[in-house]
């Protein structure tokens, strides 16, 4: 398996595909800026910019009709400076290797910032879940896992779930590795069902982490709450947005806006979040929910008056087109890259702090990491222990970002990237270049 020379790869998106930036371009531009400001040596910079290794495999799979389908699979291992690789596994009909590269890079920086001894990775299979039966998907995942056996393992590379591949996928992967190893090796896939060694508290770990970070930010930016608590708008109602909205009610906040795929609901006096959540659990969406609110589009919801705006759905929703119209005091990114780089600059000019996803949603990978620790030691922590440790990691990360931001006089996004890049560069300097 020869590592690919990424700089010569024409498929690597150097230019944004459209007018707006892709999350990958956002990542790269931030990293370039961070490295430049840190005066990282050019040769070291080259190491950090390229994935360490990319494995490309073909996955022959017997389909439901008896014929053979051959699918493409990848695992991109971005950087092993700090420890084993870890990163998402994704299943999608239009999966592209450059999207995995971006994801692997993001994970490296996120782990470095959270002080987790992992490097970033990302992988997946290009297969459409709508077109194939669960049995075929399972076969493909098992074949994918066994083709990667030489480069994965608890000390080499561990998988974490993605929106497209839930805990069932982690269980299959862990089973394949265990059968080959001749012993149960549950630390190879994280975010597993609790019965197979999954960590307690992993289902709402991102939302809980965001609440911790928001608490720290409120104190830091002295965001006082008027009567009825801080007014928050949460875009997205899935495991991140939904759990966040539910949790915020307990944190002296008033959730004034929520949304899902079908649109947003807004009431400046606050929404009955528990009732809306129950409705969505039962009906699958907020489309026909009843209550005291105004309906509007997702785009309009982002522009409503509030104290905290939490985009937790998809990337690139806050762009130069709407950044100067936001009426919030703080943005906290729940999704990966909802605020584009140019929008981030506009918000900086307006004095609206943006807490980057790299920090704000890292509660998820932190609890994934705890699962790995628990699997290695054979323990299972009580939920309270998971929460306590998660709080400590996030608090330390928050403090390092705030310090970096104050000392270097840069916005939070860049400050966070600089902390991460500096840590990884330092690890590489210490280790040196082998042979």
């Amino acid at each position: 398996m020869q590592p690919t020379d990424v700089s010569r790869d024409p498929t690597l998106p150097g230019q944004p595909a459209f007018d707006e930036e892709t999350p990958f371009a956002t990542m790269m531009s931030l990293f370039d800026e961070a490295a430049e400001r840190l005066h990282i040596e050019a040769d070291l910079y080259a190491i950090l910019r390229k994935p360490d290794r990319e494995v490309n495999i073909s996955i022959p799979t017997r389909l439901a009709d008896g014929t053979l389908g051959v699918f493409d699979g990848w695992r991109v291992q971005h950087n092993m400076g700090l420890g084993p690789y870890a990163g998402p596994f994704r299943v999608s009909g239009d999966l592209r290797v450059d999207e995995l590269r971006a994801l692997a890079g993001w994970t490296t920086w996120k782990c470095a910032l959270a002080n987790i001894p992992f490097g970033g990775a990302a992988g997946g299979i290009r297969i459409d879940r709508e077109l194939h039966s669960p049995a075929v998907i399972e076969l493909a995942v098992r074949r994918y896992t066994s083709s990667l056996l030489d480069v994965i393992g608890p000390d080499r590379d561990v998988f974490i779930p993605d929106k497209s591949a839930d805990e069932q996928f982690m269980a299959w992967m862990m089973d394949v590795v265990s059968m080959h190893e001749r012993h149960t090796t549950n630390a190879v896939g994280l975010g597993k069902p609790t019965v197979l060694g999954g960590s307690r508290g992993h289902l709402d770990s991102i939302a809980r982490g965001m609440r911790t970070v928001l608490g720290l930010a409120r104190e830091h930016f002295k965001l006082g709450s008027d009567r009825g608590g801080l007014r928050a708008i949460v875009q997205g109602a899935g495991s991140v947005g939904g759990n966040l909205a539910l949790g915020l009610v307990e944190d002296d906040c008033r959730v004034v806006g929520v949304s899902d795929f079908f649109g947003g609901l807004y009431n400046p006096n606050g929404l009955d979040v528990r009732k809306l959540h129950a409705h969505r659990q039962h009906h699958g969406s907020l489309q026909h929910a009843q209550g005291d609110f105004v309906r509007m589009s997702n785009e309009e919801l982002l522009l409503q008056d509030c104290d905290v705006l939490a985009p937790c759905a998809i990337g690139n929703v806050i762009t130069p087109r709407n950044a100067d119209k936001l009426r919030t005091k703080l943005v906290i990114e729940g999704a990966n890259g909802p605020v584009s780089t140019r929008a981030d600059h506009i918000l900086e000019g307006r004095g609206i702090p943006v807490i980057p996803a790299m920090l704000a949603n890292s509660g998820g990978i932190i609890v994934n990491y705890f699962e790995w620790v628990q699997n290695r030691t054979g323990e299972q922590w009580p939920e309270g222990t998971v929460h306590m440790h998660q709080k400590r990691f996030l608090t330390e990360a928050w403090q390092s970002v705030v310090k970096s931001s104050a000392e270097r006089k840069v916005r939070l996004h860049l400050a966070a990237s600089m902390v991460a890049v500096e840590r990884l560069a330092n690890a590489h300097r210490l280790r040196g270049v082998y042979a």
Partner: protein, 428 residues
């Protein structure tokens, strides 16, 4: 952390000043108390394995030079071997052997699941470039790779090696085994799996042991005056932590001389002065005295935390302290020991008193294996528990066998290794 500062046997003037002879003598005494048979004594005395490797290196000027390196694994019945790697021109196999044995006893006395090991490369680091040192480290590591590993042998820094050396070793090992293996070495930078609290570990251990010993003697920290020989990682940090406990630190020293103020020194201020001026002499709030005078000052506690052979048959009679805590390795000679015992001065031996360093090295290994890192408070709490337990075990053993704490410590250590050996039996 330096785990052994003893000079090589060839440099000693007489038997009294050879710390390895002294150690061998103490081992024999402990074995007598334990009534070990001759065969078991031979097993425990002999290193399990010794490896000598040639280290060919391309020098910066393009020529090739071949250095010699050693790794001695003294005894691995209690667990993987643990011990430093030193780079020095006078490294020799005899010295490395003796230091490896020393590590076996030190690890056993604080009950760490480690055996003793030691390694070294014959070279003069001051004459080598950073690149040459890196290549020596990597080639040496490759040479001993088969006997290294988190479950086999875990090196640490020693004379002329540091965090950076350990990082190179860890990287070389990791590339060979195809996975990042931080637990193969300790004393790493925090960025690569090092432990919090390591820099002050030995000094903290000294403070804890002093506290426990004084408790036994019925003395309160606020009522004791302390003389510290040394002002580095062990002496300086030890003095600072002891002052925080309420002790009055009346004297500190460095390689140029000592300072004394019977009313007590402000240790952080003295250390800041030392850092700025590179020597203690000239510090205005204390008088200057000689190194020899310092040891004989009136005080309650004397902490020799610099080099070996400081308290000898020549000055032991004039020591006024009630308690001696050996921060350095081998500061008291065997002859001096006898005089101090007669005078009723309690001596807490090096293998117990300065074991705080290797204990936090052990914590680093534990944290690396789990992949989960403790807060500094957690490290300190666990260190305290281990040091207090070890002190109590040594104290009880010394009382049981009616012997000094030093021989008590050796009885505990040799007894623990012998017990494990008997339980495991002789393989094949």
């Amino acid at each position: 952390m330096s785990t052994g500062t003893a000079v090589s046997p060839s440099m000693s003037i007489s038997k009294e000043f050879n710390p390895f002879e002294a150690m061998a003598e103490r081992f024999e005494l402990a074995s007598d108390h334990l009534k070990l048979d001759q065969g078991l004594r031979d097993v425990l005395r002999t290193p399990d394995r010794e490896l000598t490797v040639a280290i060919p290196i391309k020098m910066d000027n393009g020529t090739m030079r071949v250095f010699t390196g050693y790794r001695v694994q003294h005894n691995f019945s209690r667990g993987p071997c643990k011990g430093g790697i030193r780079f020095a021109p006078d490294v020799n196999l005899d010295e490395v052997r003796a230091l490896a044995a020393w590590m076996t006893w030190k690890c056993a006395v604080v009950d760490l699941p480690f055996g003793g090991g030691k390694g070294g490369v014959i070279c003069t680091p001051s004459e080598l470039s950073q690149g040459e040192l890196e290549r020596i480290t990597r080639r040496y590591t490759t040479g001993i790779l088969d006997i290294l590993g988190p479950d086999r042998d875990v090196p640490a820094p020693d004379v002329n090696t540091n965090e950076q050396t350990m990082a190179w070793l860890m990287d070389t090992y990791s590339m060979h085994v195809r996975r990042t293996t931080t637990a193969v070495v300790t004393g790493k930078p925090i960025a690569l799996g090092g432990s919090k609290g390591r820099a002050e570990a030995t000094g903290r251990g000294v403070m804890l042991i002093a506290r426990e010993a004084l408790k036994k003697m019925g003395l309160k920290p606020e009522k004791t005056s302390v003389v510290v020989q040394g002002s580095g990682n062990v002496g300086g940090i030890g003095a600072m932590l002891m002052q925080r406990q309420g002790h009055k630190i009346v004297s500190l020293s460095d390689m140029f001389g000592a300072i004394y103020n019977e009313k007590g020194l402000d240790v952080p201020e003295v250390l800041a002065y030392l850092k700025a001026n590179r020597k203690l002499t000239g510090y205005s709030k204390a008088g200057a005295i000689s190194a020899a005078e310092q040891l004989e000052l009136p005080c309650d506690v004397l902490v020799p935390a610099a080099v070996e052979n400081q308290i000898t048959s020549a000055n032991a009679e004039r020591i006024k302290a009630k308690l001696i805590i050996e921060g350095a390795n081998g500061p008291t000679t065997a002859n001096a020991d006898k005089i101090l015992e007669k005078k009723g001065i309690m001596v807490v031996p090096d293998i117990l008193a300065n074991a705080g360093g290797v204990t936090v090295s052990y914590f680093e290994w534990v944290q690396d294996r789990a992949g989960f890192f403790w807060t500094e408070e957690e490290v300190n709490t666990r260190l305290e528990r281990i040091m207090v337990d070890a002190f109590n075990a040594v104290e009880a053993t010394a009382a049981q066998y009616k012997t000094s704490l030093r021989i008590g410590a050796y009885i505990v250590a040799v007894g623990r290794v012998a017990e494990v050996y008997k339980l495991r039996g002789n393989y094949a």
